[in-house]
Each structure stands twice: as C-alpha cells, then as structure tokens.
Amino acid sequence: MSKRWLIVVTALAVLSLVLAACQPQGVVKTVVVTQVVEVKGTPEVREVVVTATPKPEERKLEIFHWWTAGGEREAADAMFKAFKEKYPDVEIVENPVAGGGGVSHRVVLQARLSAGLPPDTFQTLGGAELKSYVDGGYLVPLDDLWAELKYADVIPKPLANAVTINGHPYTVPLNMHIQNILYYNKPLFDELKLTPPTTFDELINVAKAVKAAKPNMAPLALGAKEKWGAAFVFDSILLEVGGPEYYVKLYKGEIDVKTDATFRTALEKFKELIPFINTTNPGLTWDESCGLLVSGDSAMVIMGTWAIGYFKSRGWTPGQEFGAVTFPQKPERILLFHPDTYGLTKGAPHPKTTMDWLRVVASPELQIPTDVIQGGLFARLDIDPKEFPDPIRQELMTYVRENPTKLILDQHGSIAPFSFTQAYWDAIAAFVVAPDVDATIKTVSDLFTTYQVKEGAAWYQWP
C-alpha cells in the first residue's frame, strides 16, 4: 500500500517540477516536494521546501521580420550589426519569412501569436496593421520607454500618431516610407524638354507629349498584380482633388462615397489617365513596373521610396538616369507614409533584451545604416539629411524636417482597417482594367459599410 503511495507522490512531485519549469523565466518559484520514505512499514512524511533563486534572463532575442529580398537582407544585417555593437552578448534568433510587405510573414506570425508562443519582437507596419495586433492584445504599451527616450520629441507627430493606439505608443518606428513619389526617366524628359509633373493636369499633358513622341511607350507604368499599385495612383489623384482633410476623412469612413462628388471626380480623372497606362499592369509586380522605365517601355511610375533601391540595383543613378518628385504638390505638398516598427510582445520570453533592442531601434546608430540601405526616410528628425547618398531622399528628409505635420498614413500603414483596405485595392485594380465609374462607386461604398470602416478607423488622429 505504502509503495503505491510512494509512486503517486513522487509522480506528483515530478509533475509539479515540470509544471514549474513551464513558467516564464525570471519568476521566483517555490516548489514543495513531498517525500514519502518507507521506514519499517510505518510511513513517515517529510516536507522539504526548495526556493529557487531568480535566474537572470537569457541574453537572447527572437525576432520576426520579412526583410529577405535583395537590399532588404543587407538592411536587416545592418540593423543586427548595430544591435550587436551595443550588446555583443545577445544571441539573435531570426525568423525571417520571405514575401514583400509581409504577406507570408503574417500567416506564420498569426499562428505563433494565437498559439501563445510569441517571439520577443516582430516587424509590423504602423496604422491598421499595428492596430490589429494591439486589438488582439499581443503587444505591450511602451509609454515608459518612449518617455525614457523622449522619442515623441524627435520624430514627426503624424509618425507618433501612427503607432499610438488609444493614447499609448505600442511600437518603435525605425523609418518612414513615402508612397506618393513619381519617378521619371530623366534623359527622356530632357530630350523632350518636359518638366516633371506635380499636378494631375500636368501629368496628363506630359503623358500626351510622351505618347506623341514615342507611340510605343506607355507613359505611366503600373504594376497591379499585388493590387495596391493601382491604389497608389488613385491616392495621388484623390489627394489633389480632395485635399488632405478629405483624404483622411475618406479613409476614416466619414464620407458617403455613394453621393460624394469629389470621389466621383477623382475616379473620372483616373479614367482619363488609364489610356496612358501599360495594359500589362494586372500581371506585373511593383518592381516589374519600375523595370518598364529601365527597359524604356515607360517614362514614369508612381511608387514608394523603396523604388530608389530597385533603380540603383538596375544600375541607374538618382539624378542622372532617373529623377523623382512627390506627386501631387497641389493644393498642398503632402507625403503619404508608413513606418516599419518593432514592439514588445505580451509574454515575450526575453523582455529585458527586447527593451534593449527597442532602444537600439530608436537610435541613430541603427537608423542611419539601415534606412540608407533599405530605402525609407529616417524616423528621427535630428539626423542630418546629408546621410542619404541620393539627392531625392536628402530633399524629402529636409522637407519632412521643416514640415513634420505634412505626413498622412498611406495604403500600407492604412487608416482604414485591413479587411477593408485589401478589398478596396481589388476594386481599384479592377477599375484600371474595366473603368466603370458607377459600378466602382457602388462597390467601394458597399465596402465601407461591409467592413465598418467608421468604427475601425476612429482611432486615427490627424494632424
């Protein structure tokens, strides 16, 4: 009888040890081990109380990101190099998932998060995507860290707003990508004596002039396979027709698209532009659309700051083979942007190391090498724009420093919830192939109600 007892009690003790080992590390644990010792048939019970000393946290950082493509991989390496320089003892465990914009990354990350096995930190865009993780309760608010770093003072207000949900900053942004940039083939523009367009009418005129001189060219390149390319062009038109306040209101779901004249005008203008766009657009990804400029099939493309890296990889020098202007510049010169950011997950295995990591993310030592390679602007305004090797980003950074409020969230770090944005891209991409204004207005208007944009985007504050 007492032998059985011995087995049961030992099993319980082992089980409790195993369970205790499953607890998050760094917690002081007390384990009560009950031993039953058989002494001449009379059971004697001894209790031994073992108190573990707090174990120092392992210096390890598990990180999820999607910077795997050419140019991005080098930027990720620069990022980790900066971190290693400051904290050489930390072991970095990368979990990179390939796929531009984090399409596949989201699949893996979501699985890990909902299984309760979060990495320490993961890459996320600001805006709606970040909000979906905050709503899920996966991130820890970083008010203390931001206060410690005085981060809100060194970055533009709209950037801080993009990562602040319900009054708390949840991540540390390390860059800003600008969406509404028009790149153009400089030798061609010089040859045809064209000035880069900064308004819609100028764009149409330039497109006409290019078409007249080079009938085989599609003046404006577009790659809409990933769908968002079309929304980029449309955003630029919306921004000019409606102005910044309208743009924000629209994506906050405060405009009744069905009856709205501005939205209709913007679509009609977009329709006017479509004959000047390459018909191959549904099959091209964004880099392939930029490739049309290099191959001489197109003269212009509207693409984000990441295109600079692409053009350079094709052997083009900024200011020589290609130039860039933000588009549009009327009624105001607004930059549509999204940041790449990192936060601290709830239940992160190594919270202390992660906080060290976030401190480095916020530092110029990380931002300068990483952003110069990866293609965005610096999140910090106190870094010299001259750090950028190209005149395009030098000019953009200088503009942002002088006008830090002229930034609005773009399609990727969207204002509207992701469920809406994905469907909206489809609608706009379909419009390019079959430009039916009435049908598109109806579709988009339905999307706004179906995906409850008004409730989902209420968090966004601008300016």
Binding site: R106, V107, P282, G283, A430, A434
Partner: protein, 297 residues
C-alpha cells in the same frame, strides 16, 4: 494468464487503430473545428469564439467576390475535367495505335514531365508565356504574322480564368494519359480490339464503341482525381494572377487565404472553407465513392 492475453490483443489493435484514430482526429476534428469557428465572431488577430450565428455567412453571400468565386470554381470543375479527359483519351489511343514502334515511350515521358513539376514552377513559366507584351506566345504569333491570335490572356478579366485552366490541362494531361493507357491494357480489352479490327471496324469506331465503354473504371478514377484537383485549386491562381485583374480569377480557396490571413477575418475564412467542403460533399465525394466502388468491383 487471461488478463495478459487481453492486454496483448489491445496492444495489437492499437497498432492498427492508432494511425486511423490520428487520421480521424486530425481530419474530422479540424473539420468540426472549422465549422465551429465559422459560426464564431473571430475577426482580428486574437481568437474570439463568441457565437455569432450566421453573421459571417450573411456577409459572405452579400459579397460580389464570393459569387465570382463560386462561378470560377464551377468553371474549373467543368472545364478543368472534361477537356483533360477527352484530350487524354485521344492521345492515349494515338499512342496505342502508333505505327512507329518505340516512339510511344518517348512521347509518354514528354507529356508526363509537367506532372512532375510543381504548380509554382509551371505557373511562373506560363505567366512568362502569357505576358501580352513580350511573352512567348504573343511574340511567336506576331513573328508568324498571326496577329489575330494574339491575346491579352490572363490580363483580360473575361477570359483570364480560362487561360489558367489551360495551364491545369497542360499539366495534368500526361497523368491522365497514363491512367487511361493502363486501363487499355487488359487482356479482355485487347482481345476485343483485335476482334473488332478483324471485323474491319475503323479506328474511331473502335475507340468509341469498344474502348470507351470498357475502360469505365479508369475513367471514373481519373475524373474523380481531376475533380478533387480542380476543386482545391489555389497555387496556379496565386502564382499567375494573384486573383486579378481585380478579383476576376479568384477562387474560393484563394479568397479563404486572403480573408483569413490578410484581412484577418478568420470566421469568414472558416466559412469559405465550409463552403468548399460543401461543394466537395455535394459534387466530388459522392462521385468519388461511386467511382472507387466501381474500381474495386
């Protein structure tokens, strides 16, 4: 003693039952779980199992995209299966009656190659072929002065799905030919063909009146395998068009992926999974069961 015997039998049974149980739990457990999630209110990154009734199904049937998907899936089922079987039948027969000895082996290898490749590879190759500007097909047509044959292929929302199905047919043709050829090679059938030839029947007559009625089991299994493959189509769409232009080439499986992981509407994604299951249940499963019964008869 008796006790030990029971234990032994139990262990033996478990060896055989274990895999089956795991299979049942993984397959049907997940199926039930998906159905359960589709009735929950899970939208967003965090699980939310609050019962929402038909909320997400209502949203689903209100979406234009959903109906485009259903239409496309039906197209895949019909146009992916029937032409493949018909063309494969002719090719298989041609190989059988080919007068040149030895060529059959080469041709069969040639058309079997695509099956060995993944859709990711063939999809990429075909999207280069279909490229309207500089793609292989249009360039060839232009060079041959056959400009009327040039097309926008997968960039034309009206016909894009059909061009995707062409890829599927191309890829599965060799597989279909192999299955049909093997079903030609029964002694009875060969004797019947011989008899018909002696009687002076034409080659076509032999194909339709002698071969087709006698290879029913081969046809049944081929059709059911093709039905399953077309219903679960995802990779071709993902690689070649990403559902575009707009969502004109979208299929249920692709929308399920977008809804679950890009839109974070997990309940909607689960609901779409249930719809795919229902289609399979109504169309494919009864047919497959029937076909397998015939196969083993």
């Amino acid at each position: 003693m008796e006790k030990r015997a029971v234990r032994f039998r139990l262990g033996e049974t478990l060896v055989f039952l274990g895999p089956l149980l795991i299979f049942l739990i993984v397959l049907y457990g997940m199926l039930l779980w998906t159905i359960y999630v589709s009735f929950s209110d899970w939208s967003g990154t965090a699980p939310n199992f609050r019962f929402a009734g038909l909320k997400w199904y209502q949203l689903m049937v209100g979406l234009d995209r959903f109906w485009v998907d259903v239409r496309n899936n039906l197209r895949w089922l019909l146009l992916g299966v029937i032409p493949t079987v018909v063309i494969a039948l002719f090719i298989a027969y041609l190989l059988e009656i080919s007068p040149i000895r030895g060529i059959e082996g080469y041709v069969r290898t040639l058309i079997l190659y695509p099956v060995a490749m993944s859709f990711i590879v063939t999809g990429t190759i075909w999207s280069w072929m279909y490229q309207p500007d500089k793609g292989v097909l249009n360039t060839i047509f232009r060079a041959l002065r056959l400009d009327f044959l040039t097309s926008n292929f997968v960039n034309d929302p009206k016909t894009a799905t059909l061009w995707l199905i062409v890829i599927f047919i191309w890829q599965y043709l060799g597989f279909a030919v192999i299955i049909l050829q093997s079903s030609f090679r029964t002694t009875e059938l060969q004797e019947m063909i011989e008899a018909a030839t002696v009687d002076g029947a034409s080659k076509l007559r032999i194909l339709f009146d002698v071969i087709v009625p006698n290879i029913r089991s081969g046809l049944l299994i081929l059709v059911s395998l093709l039905l399953i493959s077309t219903l679960k189509v995802f990779d071709i769409v993902y690689i070649v068009t990403f559902g575009g232009p707009g969502y004109s080439t979208d299929v249920l499986a692709f929308f399920m992926f977008i809804a679950t992981f890009q839109q974070h509407l997990v309940a909607l994604g689960a609901g779409l999974g249930v719809i795919i299951f229902l289609i399979a249940f109504i169309v494919v499963i009864p047919y497959t069961l029937y076909a397998f019964q015939r196969w083993f008869e």
